[in-house]
């Protein structure tokens, strides 16, 4: 089963608490450029937190010239610090810009979902981040889309809020 972080775009306020929580857990220094989840502002007024999606066919893994990256049994990306030469080729190919080069060790770092209980999701004050299995990823979107569609047809905005809680 593959888990990944689902983002609720309506809820995300762009506060970057997730970045800070990641830094708290992994680096003990507040430098957002080293966070493994990064929030991007998308005009006119959206914010998108992005981290590793644990691709089914991860280009980072297949393109590493040293074979330093591999997918482990829990479907996370494992970096072999012995093999990684810090060439940053994986940064180039990751479609989500989710890999960070650690300048102290010259080895790349990828989100490891904090052992299955990611700090960023726990810290997110609006509940915009949620760890979901890829199998059921579509479910939430489907439900919320259905609610919106129905609301447009027959419910007032107020009633919708009650439905959503």
């Amino acid at each position: 089963m593959r888990l990944y972080l689902r983002v609720d775009l309506d809820k995300c306020t762009g506060c970057r608490t997730c970045e800070l929580a990641c830094l708290d857990a992994k680096k003990k220094e507040y430098n957002p450029k080293k966070a493994l989840i990064r929030v991007t502002f998308v005009p006119p007024y959206f914010f998108l937190p992005l981290s590793c999606q644990f691709c089914e066919k991860p280009p980072c893994v297949s393109s590493c010239p040293e074979g330093a990256l591999e997918v482990d049994e829990r479907h996370r990306i494992k970096v072999d610090p012995q093999k990684c030469i810090g060439c940053t080729w994986c940064l180039n190919v990751c479609p989500f810009g989710a890999i960070v080069l650690d300048e102290e060790t010259n080895v790349v770092r990828v989100c490891d979902l904090c052992d299955g209980d990611p700090e960023c999701a726990k810290a997110c004050p609006t509940g915009a981040l949620e760890l979901v299995p890829s199998e059921t990823a579509g479910l939430k979107n489907r439900i919320s889309a259905a609610q919106k569609l129905l609301a447009g047809l027959m419910l007032s905005g107020e009633a919708l809020k009650e439905v959503k809680g």
Partner: protein, 621 residues
């Protein structure tokens, strides 16, 4: 320094083009922390007495604080300067992400001095710092400027703090805007930037902020999250934005209406936070590391501005452009809000300038012909939007109103002074001091003039609370007594520390106890700071700010409010009949001066100044 600071300041002289990296002086950092504290210290030290606020000798001190850029919310910066609106200490604070970015670039503070011969902007890219031509950006709105600079520098994550046309035109209450719609709004920082021909400061940083004791910081974060989640007022800020306040102030009829003729606006519900959420709101926005996310994005739904994306509106504008002008249309408020941001000016002062004009018109002091033929009746939305534009461009009647209400009234004469709702030149925000009497003290004593946020009094006066000044039972909003004086003294100190740390007054100002403030500072800096020391630092900075103002001629006579509040009882609602009693007010002032160690003219006594370690600034005059 163990943590919290980068230890470096950047000094840019626009007259000579010289850029110098200096060490952060450790002793002032320990005594004044950063933000408004460090800024006020540098201002008093470096800007000569009687300096022209729009002249070469004025300076801008952009200061972050030790907590900026850490996980303790939120990452703010404060800019300190001599104000062109008030001619005394001016400071203004803004959040978003610009402050943390300056620190990530490696600087605790940026000092801007001199005047550039032609428009420029400053580009700080970690160690490499340069002045770039900005002729092509002159005249651009703040939104445009940010977009174009990011594009020009080829980096969408560059953070830009800039001025708009109002700053260029030296509107006395011009603001600095960063991160789309976050404003260093008050006191005219934008006009000072404009006078220096500095269009913007663009920052990109790749470094980080180290803290002295990471484990302790995590503990603080845990504690503050616990309080935050259970604090109803803060929750309502998340749900309804700062406009949540409309229900509170309206409830006690202290929502300034028609230029403070009343505190009761019959149609307040049309302006309230819940209405905003139901109608125009499309997004909630949080500043760096802030769980509250009081920021709003709205979209105008009808009329000529249909589709306009508004980074707001905020409570203060809901009051100044709403009830303050007798207007109940939230769309008009939102348009005015976005326009003042795009022009780059303070919506409090601007809104009050418009309601000043409207009242002068009502009282027959300002004829329609003198106001470019505009209909100045209360609530005329079209006029308001047009006036915002005219003020931002200093066009027609806008040129007079761009001076701020105090100076505009002086120029207009005809007895209009009594309708200029300000103290020391700074217009009041949305809290009626007859219905919220603690605010009378805060307005009268604020070191930047009639400011609402130098203390947390407004929370006490609406009957909610601030953990910065824990009380067993709520205070009576309508009482002006020693309890309020005590609260004023304690809160001005603690809030000054918040503004020097630099934290957000909605977050730290409400959910932090003094002891949590102390542990935050010590965890990050590694200095031993307890509650007593927090108050001490606050008192030191507050007194230092008063010293600056005393040097510029401020005395007891300036610690006051307009006649209206003492002679006209509020006409309606919960606060009906409420008025300030002159004698009580003067007694409270006496009590205040005694408590803080100032003489009866409001001048800090020499022994007090020495005791606080400010001896270097003696003699005073």
């Amino acid at each position: 320094m163990k943590g919290g600071y980068t230890g470096k300041m950047l000094r840019v002289n626009l007259s000579t083009g010289k850029i110098v990296k200096e060490g952060l002086p450790p002793e002032p950092a320990r005594k004044f922390l950063g933000g408004v504290g460090l800024g006020s210290y540098l201002l008093l030290k470096e800007v000569p007495a009687g300096a022209d606020p729009l002249g070469e000798s004025n300076k801008l001190f952009f200061c972050t604080g030790p907590l900026t850029g850490t996980r303790i919310p939120t990452g703010r910066y404060v800019v300190t300067f001599k104000s062109p609106l008030t001619s005394i200490l001016g400071w203004s604070s803004s959040a978003g992400h610009w402050g943390p970015e300056l620190k990530f670039a490696g600087y605790d503070a940026l000092i801007v001095e001199g005047v550039s011969p032609s428009p420029v902007y400053l580009w700080i890219d970690d160690d490499s710092v340069e002045l770039r031509k900005a002729q092509h950006l002159w005249g651009a709105t703040t939104g445009e400027t940010q977009k174009r600079i990011r594009k020009e520098l080829g980096d969408e994550e560059v953070r830009v703090a800039c001025i708009g046309p109002a700053g260029e035109k030296l509107v006395r209450f011009a603001s600095i805007i960063n991160d789309e719609g976050r404003a260093a709004g008050r006191c005219g920082a934008g006009a000072v930037m404009g006078s220096k021909k500095l269009k913007a400061v663009a920052v990109r940083g790749h470094g980080g902020v180290k803290v002295a004791e990471p484990e302790k910081v995590s503990e603080v974060v845990k504690k503050m999250y616990e309080v935050w989640k259970s604090e109803p007022f803060v929750r309502s800020l998340h749900l309804y934005g700062t406009d949540a306040m409309t229900s509170f102030t309206s409830g006690i009829a202290a929502f300034p209406t028609r230029n403070f003729q009343s505190g009761w606006f019959e149609e307040w519900e049309k302006l309230s936070g819940p209405t905003l959420s139901r109608t125009l709101l499309v997004k909630k926005v949080g500043c760096f590391g802030c769980p509250i996310a009081c920021g709003r994005v709205s979209v105008v739904k009808s009329g000529p501005y249909r589709g306009m994306v508004v980074w707001g509106p905020e409570y203060e504008h809901v009051n100044t452009f709403g009830a303050g002008c007798g207007n109940s249309d939230l769309e008009t408020v939102s348009i005015c809000h976005q326009l003042v941001n795009e022009y780059g000016m303070d919506g409090i002062s601007c809104g009050r300038a418009i309601s000043f004009a409207m009242e002068c018109h009502e009282k027959g002091l300002l004829k329609r012909e003198e106001a470019d033929g505009l209909d100045l009746s209360w609530g005329n939305g079209e006029t308001m939007v047009e006036l915002v534009r005219r003020i931002g461009e200093r066009r027609g009647i806008g040129d007079l109103l761009a001076e701020g209400t105090r100076l505009a009234a002086r120029k207009l004469g005809r007895g209009s002074e009594k309708y200029a709702m300000q103290t020391k030149g700074l217009e009041y925000a949305g809290y009626e001091p007859r219905g919220m009497k603690g605010m009378a003290l805060t307005y009268a004593l604020g070191n930047r003039g009639g400011c609402h946020i130098t203390t947390g009094m407004l929370y006490l006066d609406i009957g909610t609370m601030t953990w910065m000044y824990p009380l067993d039972s709520p205070l009576d909003p309508q009482a002006l007594d020693l309890e309020k004086v005590k609260a004023e003294v304690a809160l001005e100190r603690r809030y000054t520390v918040v503004e020097s740390a630099v934290l957000c007054k909605f977050f730290a100002g409400i959910v932090f106890t003094p002891s949590l403030m102390a542990s935050s500072l010590s965890a990050v800096t590694g200095w031993e700071i307890d509650e007593g020391e927090v108050d001490r630092i606050g008192e030191r900075i507050w007194t230092l700010q008063r010293l600056f103002n005393v040097r510029e001629g401020i005395t007891r006579k300036d610690d006051t409010l307009p006649e209206r509040f003492f002679t006209e009882p509020l006409p309606d609602g919960f606060s009906r009949g409420q008025v300030l009693d002159r004698k009580t007010f003067e007694e409270m002032l006496d009590a205040y001066y005694r408590m803080v160690g100032w003489d009866e003219e409001g001048i800090p006594k020499e022994e007090k100044v020495r005791e606080l370690g400010l001896g270097e600034f003696l003699p005073l005059r």
